[in-house]
Point group: C2
Chain length 441, copies 2
Amino acid sequence: MNAVGKMLIGLHLGNGYGSQSGAWRMPGVDPESYTSFDIRVKQAQAAERGKFQFIFLPDGPGAVMTDIETESPVFNLDVMMTLAAVARETQYIGLVATGSTTFNEPFNLARQFKALDIMSHGRAGWNAITSSGEDVAANYGRRIPSSQDRYGRAHEAIQLIQSLWGSWGKDAWIHDQKSGQFAKKDQILPINLQGKYVGSRGPLYIPPSEQGQPIIFHAGGSPNAHQLAGRFANVVIGAAFTIEEARAQRNAFRAAAKSYGRDPDEIKYIAGLMTTIAKDKRTALDRRIQLGGSSLIQKFEYLQKMLGIPLDLSLINEPISESLLENARPSPYDPRSSNAFKIARQGWSVLDILAHGVIDYHPVIAGPGVEAADHMQAWYEAGAADGFWISPDVNSDGIDAFVDQVVPLLQERGLFHKEYESKTLRGHLGVPDQYGIDPRV
Amino acid sequence: MNAVGKMLIGLHLGNGYGSQSGAWRMPGVDPESYTSFDIRVKQAQAAERGKFQFIFLPDGPGAVMTDIETESPVFNLDVMMTLAAVARETQYIGLVATGSTTFNEPFNLARQFKALDIMSHGRAGWNAITSSGEDVAANYGRRIPSSQDRYGRAHEAIQLIQSLWGSWGKDAWIHDQKSGQFAKKDQILPINLQGKYVGSRGPLYIPPSEQGQPIIFHAGGSPNAHQLAGRFANVVIGAAFTIEEARAQRNAFRAAAKSYGRDPDEIKYIAGLMTTIAKDKRTALDRRIQLGGSSLIQKFEYLQKMLGIPLDLSLINEPISESLLENARPSPYDPRSSNAFKIARQGWSVLDILAHGVIDYHPVIAGPGVEAADHMQAWYEAGAADGFWISPDVNSDGIDAFVDQVVPLLQERGLFHKEYESKTLRGHLGVPDQYGIDPRV
């Protein structure tokens, strides 16, 4: 149990196809989803039907990270333009986008996220990250700064942006047509922050939203990430393969929050989960085999390293023999190895082992909805997560499958809310509204 | 006559209230228009009903330039978020926002405008400006660079952004589900531009829109502006008070285009026009008196300087006497002075002279629709403008007044199109589609 009393669920809305690189080729998928805002809106609406607390858009910003010859870019065309479209055509769901503190002017980030907060009536969240990829830096004609400089700038940028968000006081906007007072000038104040990396005088001329101002998210797992999130974030977008790993991460973030004088419950740890939900296990595995295509051969190569045994491609449809498995040594360098070994010992064929998603970015559920519900309940009750961000294999039907086959189980078990109790993201997450500091106090 | 064969009309969509500082207090105006995206969308739809070629959003970015105690900020909350909303709820009208080359990362501008171009199906334009206000620079914790550095960076930024827009070739996106080819990698190429001020490797992972890529606008009147626009722009957002001044500006931009090896017809000069359209002159003047409020007193002070004669506030409802007018010396330092003098000699009261808008940012039409149509026809036929960007006094009813009372007259006179002939901004402006350079040629 966490402070909200129920688990939180977010939808990973990426390139419009889904989390599996073969998603764009699947039957029923519009191959132009990458450029379709209609489809993005429809997917967000599906998540809202499932009462998800938020949708989450990762960003590099702007790198591709795939082989464009056969795969879609992994990121959204533009995360803020997408959320603007979604904001206009949804009512409840929180809208969270990644914005790099490394490659954005803080004033521009502040303005655009606050505008999103206004247009969504208080549903905006900013995933404040640092960018560490040289392919991203190259888009800006630069090299990636040192970790110290990136996090130094991130700390300054978040404080500056939160200050800009609060620079227009809660009750400053009068707009009284009779008296002619538009706003109280003495409650719209410059922030005058100048740091080593960034500065701004302000103020930002945008009044508070229905939740005051956006919420800070962070994604990362390093000690630097713990500190940044511990100081500023209300939500952490996590990545962990086991309950133990997730619980350790969650506790590290909670401890960091405490070290910055905050209540640990103010920070929610959201674990990643990838889903292929189908009526039964066999159907789910077949779907993932269809999705995997040629990438399963690459994964076949790597599976041998994970298990520490040689495998024969011609026997891919056979279980691994008992004698081979006796020699297996799950790699200590990959936290996914023990899961791969466990599934191998259940007697699945090599192809089916791969179809279980033993080699992917997050834990994978490939099976009926109850498997996902059981996984989520186990992690949640073990204190390993306050919630989950879901990456469906294929968005076009994978979001609906989760909404129709997993959400009702979680609701029946009392683990997930049945209705939105609020219309703001802060309301959904149990985070108090935030306004600027009243200069009159 | 210009290259398109008809005049072009754009709507200035600013803070949501209108161009007059008193607009937010007028009857029928929602005092919360500043934060209402519903209202912005409705205003854009009104312009689309009138077959306007584009809406135009100026930006500082982000400064206020008014007395917030009694007036709204002049700019939009965020120009890109507004255009995203408008893009989803209009079908034809072009969408043009100002983006500062001084205070944005070029890659971020490139990505967001191209995403807007995709979501609007080829209706995006970028008004590429340099920022020169110290109040703007203060938002970024910096001082305004020298004019040389600002324009140097602007030249580099526009070339870089156009290159990024063209980095995904016209026919590169295959998305063939059967063959599994997503895109042709050899037609999505890095741009590898590195200048003195900005650089980028790219590519930008966004395919062409229905018009290929966005159009470049520019706003400014200096020799630097002539050069920048002459090199890159298809449209200039102008500001001139007389036919002579506008024609000189237009010719300067055309000459600059020619000096850069372009056909002068490739650059369209769009003059500013502010409108108060009413059933008759008296009603229009009374509306502007109501709108002007206390600001008319400040303008009363300045009118004396423009005319070079002392005026008595107690006689504000009387015409200026013949004997006083004989001593008037219209100020040579303000191009609006001769117009103020002309109106004074027509015998209008001092208050009515002010209500004519003799002191405003652009020429003002306060009267029935035919006055606006006559003004536009005269300027257009004199070669002083290829079109006009209209700033209604109050958006809530001022856009409709223009659409219903001016547009039909222009259409009857054969000066303005009756239907959209295209669905892209390039189509509206007679500018050919633009794609990247095919590396195979």
